[in-house]
């Protein structure tokens, strides 16, 4: 079920995209038919040839079958195979997403260090100090921050992504870790003299791993959305910019392929997160069985 659900999601998203692309005005129009230099007779001849080859519905279905079998077709705007376009651009997008996301998580964790390792008083003061900048960062749209960063000449695309993701990660981690650190068993462990470092890595980390995995999945999906305006505004040749160019030029095969890639990334992220979680549960059950066996 953990694998089936993301795959079903992928299939539904692709079907929805293909449907939207089909109903888009002008999808079945050949650009040659808009060429004013060609006469009415030539237009009629071309339409007759198209109708003889296959109707628009069958042509659409053929394209869908090709898309789902991995043949992404040819771009109507660039006139090159979509696969080539994607293979040239995916590295830029991947490095931007993972670099920005990594930096965002790093900033959030550094901001949390006083709460985790300092005294309660210091943690509360740092949290109060960070509240205002965090709220402001949460209120800035990706497009606005990228535009301000570009026009002022400060900041890089990766820094923009990091600044947009870090407040969300910080807010979630702060609430999550705060609730665990205030719980009775942690007070008890601290009163027994267990060091903060040991408390965090030996006791807290295993407790919060599922939530951290879910948070990583959420921030990954969020970064996929942020990367489009960032790539467009900073003029980076990534998949986000390709999707934008395709939308502006109504390049249906590229729109369908980029949406498929985004949906596949989300589905893969879901499968990986669920897989890690399932292996964790399996390992804990397995070790539990071993302990029970030894006791018997």
């Amino acid at each position: 079920m953990a694998i089936l659900k993301p795959l079903l999601l992928l299939l539904l998203i692709e079907a929805g995209t293909v449907l939207l692309v089909r109903i888009a005005p002008g999808y079945f129009t050949d650009s040659l038919l808009l060429d004013a230099r060609l006469g009415a007779q030539v237009h009629a001849q071309m339409q007759a040839e198209k109708a003889a080859a296959h109707g628009p519905v069958i042509a659409g279905l053929l394209e869908d079958t090709e898309l789902l079998s991995g043949k992404l077709g040819e771009s109507r705007f660039f006139h090159v195979p979509v696969k080539d376009l994607l293979s040239r651009r995916w590295k830029i997008t991947a490095s931007l997403i993972f670099g920005g996301l990594g930096l965002g998580w790093l900033i959030a964790v550094i901001a949390l260090l006083p709460t985790l390792f300092g005294s309660d008083h210091l943690g509360a003061r740092v949290e109060a100090l960070l509240l205002a900048p965090m709220i402001v960062l949460l209120a800035i749209p990706a497009g606005a921050l990228a535009a301000v960063s570009l026009s002022s000449g400060h900041g890089t695309p990766m820094a923009v992504i990091a600044l947009l993701t870090s407040p969300r990660v910080y807010r979630f981690l702060s609430t999550l870790l705060g609730s665990h650190l205030q719980s009775d068993h942690f007070f008890y462990a601290r009163s027994l003299g267990v060091s903060r470092f040991r408390l965090l890595f030996a006791h807290l980390a295993p407790c919060v791993t599922p939530e951290l995995l879910a948070l990583f999945g959420t921030t990954f999906i969020m970064t996929l959305g942020i990367v489009v305006p960032v790539e467009v505004i900073f003029d980076l040749n990534g998949i986000g910019q390709l999707a934008w160019t395709a939308v502006l030029n109504r390049d249906a095969p590229v729109i369908a392929a980029t949406t498929l890639v985004a949906a596949a990334a989300v589905a893969l992220g879901g499968i990986l997160t669920d897989g890690v979680q399932l292996s964790r549960i399996w390992r804990s059950r397995h070790s539990g069985n071993l302990i029970a066996g030894e006791a018997q």
Binding site: L9, L12, I13, T17, L20, V21, I23, A24, P25, G26, I135, V136, L138, A139, I140, P141, A142, G143, A144, A146, A147, V148, L150, S151, I221, M222, L224, G225, V228, P229, V232, I233, A243, W244, V247, L248, R250, I255, T258, T259, A262, A263, V266, G270
Partner: protein, 278 residues
């Protein structure tokens, strides 16, 4: 002090309305003698590349995005409540299908969906129609945000003692829902509205920065961002940041309102749970 964010929002809207009502408050009138200029006695926040008053455009953008954003957030809340209600009262198959549909919409980055849907619209639409459709799309794609929470809350209330008591007292299901259930759901629906509202304003800005939001000559925060990214105005006045400053201020105020409502609804839930325990 508690109502300070609300007063601040009302004050900002009033200011924007007054600026738009001034004789020089047209957001489309062009002053070709003052192109891409800084603040002056004629244009208090300068002009854009086409000589349009920046203050008037920012105010018009605020009024347009605020009214359409609020309408979209209201519609989104209504859809969320309807879907959650349908899922709570329908058969398990329909219920899981409705919840899965909301999961599906939540799973994909919204901007991809918006771009694809926006691209499938006719090209020859009037700017006002395009603006309305943009916000309508935001409402249609933004409703799943709290559907599961609202659904869980309805199911919880259906099993509560007061619901059994109402039914035993002979109240019709319609009356129980309209008078009692909605009153219990109001804090959650308000929270959904206040979460959607700033999210829609931000989404419009992101779409506008891609040239897919509210089209020209209508003023919107998203379309005004293009001035920042245009290299022709790279050395322009600091006033070009005015739309961003106003937008961020408005969204921060809305976030503060959301925080307040969240605190109120969580305290309400706590007291409700306490009453249940007693």
């Amino acid at each position: 002090v508690k109502r300070l964010p609300l007063y601040a929002i009302v004050l900002i809207i009033l200011l924007a309305a007054i600026i738009c009502a001034l004789p020089r408050g047209s957001s489309v009138a062009q002053d070709r003698d003052h192109l891409a200029e800084g603040a002056s006695s004629v244009h208090w926040a300068g002009t854009d590349g086409l000589g349009r008053d920046r203050m008037a455009r920012t105010s018009a953008a605020l009024l347009l995005c605020f009214s359409l954003g609020a309408a979209a957030a209201g519609l989104s809340t209504a859809i969320a409540a309807t879907v959650a209600l349908g899922a709570a009262y329908a058969s398990p198959f329909i219920s899981s299908a409705l919840l899965m549909m909301s999961d599906l919409l939540l799973a994909l980055p919204g901007i991809f969906l918006l771009m694809v849907v926006r691209a499938s619209l006719p090209l020859g639409m009037s700017p006002m129609h395009a603006a309305m459709i943009t916000f309508l799309l935001l409402a249609l794609l933004g409703w799943p945000l709290m559907v599961r929470t609202i659904h869980a809350e309805i199911r919880k209330h259906r099993q509560s003692e007061w619901a059994f008591f109402c039914a035993a007292s002979g109240l019709s299901p319609n009356r129980i829902f309209a008078v009692h259930m909605l009153a219990h759901l109001r804090p959650l629906l308000r929270a959904h509205f206040l979460l959607c509202f700033p999210a829609f304003l931000i989404a419009e800005v992101n779409l506008g920065s891609l040239g897919l939001g509210v089209p020209e000559p209508l003023a919107s925060w998203g379309s005004m961002l293009t001035e920042l990214t245009s290299s022709a105005f790279a050395t322009g006045t600091i006033w070009r940041y005015l739309p961003v400053v106003v937008l961020v201020s408005v969204v921060v105020i809305l976030e503060l309102m959301t925080l307040k409502v969240n605190r109120y609804s969580s305290s309400l839930l706590r007291s409700a749970n306490g009453a249940d325990c007693r």
